[in-house]
Amino acid sequence: MFKNYLKIAWRNIAKHKIFSLINIIGLTIGLSASFVIGLIIYYDATFDDFHPDKDRIYRVVSNFTSPTGTFYNSGVTLALKDAIKDNPNYEALGSLFMKQPMNVTNPETNVTIDLPKHVIFAEQEYFNIFQYNFIAGNSSNPIESPNTVVLSEDRAKQYFPNVEFTQIIGKTLVYDDNINAEVTGIVENLPGRTDLVFQEFISWPTLLQTSRKQDLLDKKWNSTTSQSQLFVKLSPTASLENIQQELDKLAKDHEDANSKKYGQETHFDLQALSDLHFDENYGLFDWSAARTSKSLLYNLALVALFLLLLGCINFINLNTAQATQRAKEIGIRKTLGSSRKQLIWQFIGETFLLVLISALLSFVLTKWLLEVFSDFVPNGLEFELITSPVVIIGILLLLAVVTFLSGFYPAMVLSRFNAVSVLKNNLTLGDKRAKLRKTLTVFQFAIAQVFIIGTLIVGKQINYLLSEDMGFKTESVVTVYQPITSRDFSKLELFGNEIKTVPEVEESSLIYNPPASNNSNITDFTRKVDSIERYKEVFCLYGDTNYIDVFDINLLAGTDRKNDTIREIVINETAMKEFGFENPQAAIGEFLDDYDGDPVPIVGVMADFHLSSLHMEIPPTVLIGDWYRPEWHQFQAVSMTLRSDKERGLSTGVSNIEAVYNKIYPDTDMRLEFMDETIESFYNREKKISKLLKWATGLSILISCLGLLGLVIFTTNRRVKEIGVRKVLGASVFQINMLLCKEFLILVGIAFVVAAPIAYYGTYEWLQDFSYKIGISWWIFLVSGMAMIAIALLAMSVRTLHAASANPVNSLRSE
């Protein structure tokens, strides 16, 4: 029986090649998208899901609320642990301190590695929270005492090449040239995807030998750094509610006077281990890893769902439209003894065969798509993930659902045919089915239309973001950073001077940060006038007296600071307004109190410019020099403008700069950033969305138009005789073409009416994320609507023009 069904299914697929192709293309696109996106979701959702007792493991994080907003810090004050360590609600508490050493040396081989990644200082209890498998060494308390370290397998191999693991135990590593650590254990890599990327665990007491000694001794309640983190494992009976209340009370008890005064509050929150991977408020330990956000995954899933639905709709439409062609077979089968149930299963089986063919094609495509969409695909995701049992079960379920979605309704329609009327050839074609087809077609085109409008508006906004004047010079401006290991200011100064000899360099400035960057440096200033106190958080830019020239910043009043180290500031227009100065002139010569309460004179007011992406309003900003010299050097980079030389371009300039750099900093790679590229990088997320939308638009148009073409082929074939008669009566090709396309164009028109408000709402919401944005103009809708109609007409004309220009004699003679 099954074989018989399979045979007839295959013959039907082969007989109606165009319809089958349309179905397969639609389903393949939908399934491929689902496979790729499903893999991404599965990949991201299964981080750190293998730890024993994972439901009881949390990270304590700090949230600070103030009148200006909420700030999230993945770290927690060092003081907290002592306050909760005897609490029975916690089974284990493990503090971590992220402090990347400058270098690590194996004294036996004298090999030094700079900036080893993923090195942490950890408490012994960390290993009680997370189960690591010890390959060698002491697994019970390897990092209890100072000057001990546990290494990962990979690190052990890297530092001690060709030494057996058991031989490595007891050997010494030297961090930052003066901290010795004895290797007391080697652990296997964790057995699954994890965000706990640590490779070297230096014992906690060793932290007392570093520059953070004082922090560790003081344990101040008002000092929080994301470097200091705390993982906890709750006892099985602990109640989250109680713990949260205790934490809230601790935070309240240790609030300092200043925070109270400015309405700032600290909250300690428990972040579940399962949230670690997704919560965008707190960074990952491997900050270089591309971050997947839940909202992006949600959008991706939505796109996959829509594409899949579009494919299913094609299937339903084409199969119900073709139903009459299968009617005879159904009638015969019924007279031969087939029950309706058997027929339903037969048609569902046929659907499954098509779905299966599409699925096989999708497998092949998935491999390729993972490469094309590498910016969406997490780095560690390999195609082989598709063979994991959960994914395979998921795919089988998906195929079953798709089969059911596309096959069930046509199967019901087909199997309902009455044998007697079918075989007597007096089958009445239901009006209801045509209505359903029309509704589904409208749905398809509405989706395509929403995508078109979305793409155009997002594209326009991105265009605006990239072309909007930032308010300072962004072209031909580069910033070169000193090596991260360098602390020698004289070298940076030397580099700043030497760079002036490069002919392409026009002007240069020693800086900490360029006007716009991915980092923000915030401090607070206060202005006291009579009894009114204005307290503001202010963005800081640090640069020497060339800063204003290099970045072409407009001074509205006053002057720049007299020299690089003098305690004077230049404020921007927003800061001027927020601190309550009437006009730029009024601010000159006035004072703001810094963090320590010491007054600093305002010498100039500069025009506003953007400090970050246009998501953000321009904040109050001050330009500061290098005040703390010689104890502390703020400057870390040199910004310069390059002469725009059309003939030689920028590349010779850059290579000349590199030559100077290598003279001063041999053996290090130069970090050079173009200002305009930095600004572009602010919008990576928007570009991703734009790319996603473009693909979704293209594919949804493709699927919908193929479906439309299928329906047109079907109706045109039925109307061949009518077309012949009309032509004989004198209708033109154009008139006949319009006649055939008209009913479908009406559907596309209805789809536009449905789509326009949805698209308006969606893009309006999206644009609210930007402080600076384009208006949603009506012409975009008009253009999108016209484009959709034109594309649909084009797709249909593939068939209708052919039908309309056929010689009527042929169609009429075939009687």
Partner: protein, 224 residues
């Protein structure tokens, strides 16, 4: 001879607009096993409807219908379907072979719906092909056959499940006279082997093959 089926006061009405239209009107008929009955009458007299109703593809709206002593009009769909799968075969004027299946597969299909095992199915189909001399055509599709050959396949298909009753609706209507004769010869041969046959026909000649002729007009039996 045992009674195969019995109709008493069987009627069929359909709604045509607001009017009720009687297609079959108070049919009383008894068919014994081994009979060969020819239904005659002009177009629209109700021959096909009567055949369809007897074949349980359609149902009478009134009256009684017993088949092998069981009351069909009281049966559930499932039992009825089981009954006709077991005992009834159809032959159509337009052959009604499944275009996508080969000769062999067409003949095999009724067996599939009776859940017969593969080996037995193969044997039965081979016998049938042999008997009708169409072994050489078993892998051809219906369109590749002449009308007579297609009808032969249609009959082979009707016979494969060893029915007690064959219902033939103008089985030679699309065939030329030579082909018609062959088909009718085949029917009388089958009848001699014990298969009950009811055929609807316009042709006096074909009707003469039968053991009994029933004339229908406007849904009523004129003569029996």
């Amino acid at each position: 001879m045992e009674v195969l089926l019995k109709l008493s006061e069987a009627s069929k009405t359909v709604n045509s607009g607001s009017n009720q239209l009687a297609i079959l009107d108070g049919i009383d008929l008894e068919v014994k096993e081994g009979e060969f009955i020819s239904l005659m009458g002009p177009s629209g007299s109700g021959k096909s409807t009567l055949l369809n109703c007897i074949g349980m593809l359609d149902a009478f709206t009134n009256g009684g219908y017993t088949f092998l002593g069981e009351a069909v009009h009281l049966m559930k769909e499932k039992t009825r379907s089981k009954l006709y799968k077991e005992y009834i075969g159809f032959v159509f004027q337009a052959y009604h072979l499944i275009d996508e299946l080969t000769v062999k597969e067409n003949i095999e299909t009724p067996l599939l719906y009776k859940n017969i095992k593969t080996s037995e199915r193969k044997a039965l189909v081979a016998d049938m092909l042999d008997r009708f001399n169409i072994v050489g055509k078993k892998d051809l599709f219906p369109q590749q056959l002449s009308g007579g050959q297609q009808q032969l396949v249609g009959i082979a298909r009707a016979l494969i499940s060893k029915p007690k009753l064959i219902l033939a609706d103008e089985p030679t209507g699309n065939l030329n006279s030579k082909q018609s004769e062959e088909i009718m010869e085949l029917f009388s041969e089958l009848n001699k082997e014990g298969v009950t046959i009811i055929q609807a026909t316009h042709s006096e000649k074909n009707a003469s093959y039968g053991s009994r002729i029933i004339n229908l007009l406007d849904g009523k039996i004129l003569s029996n």
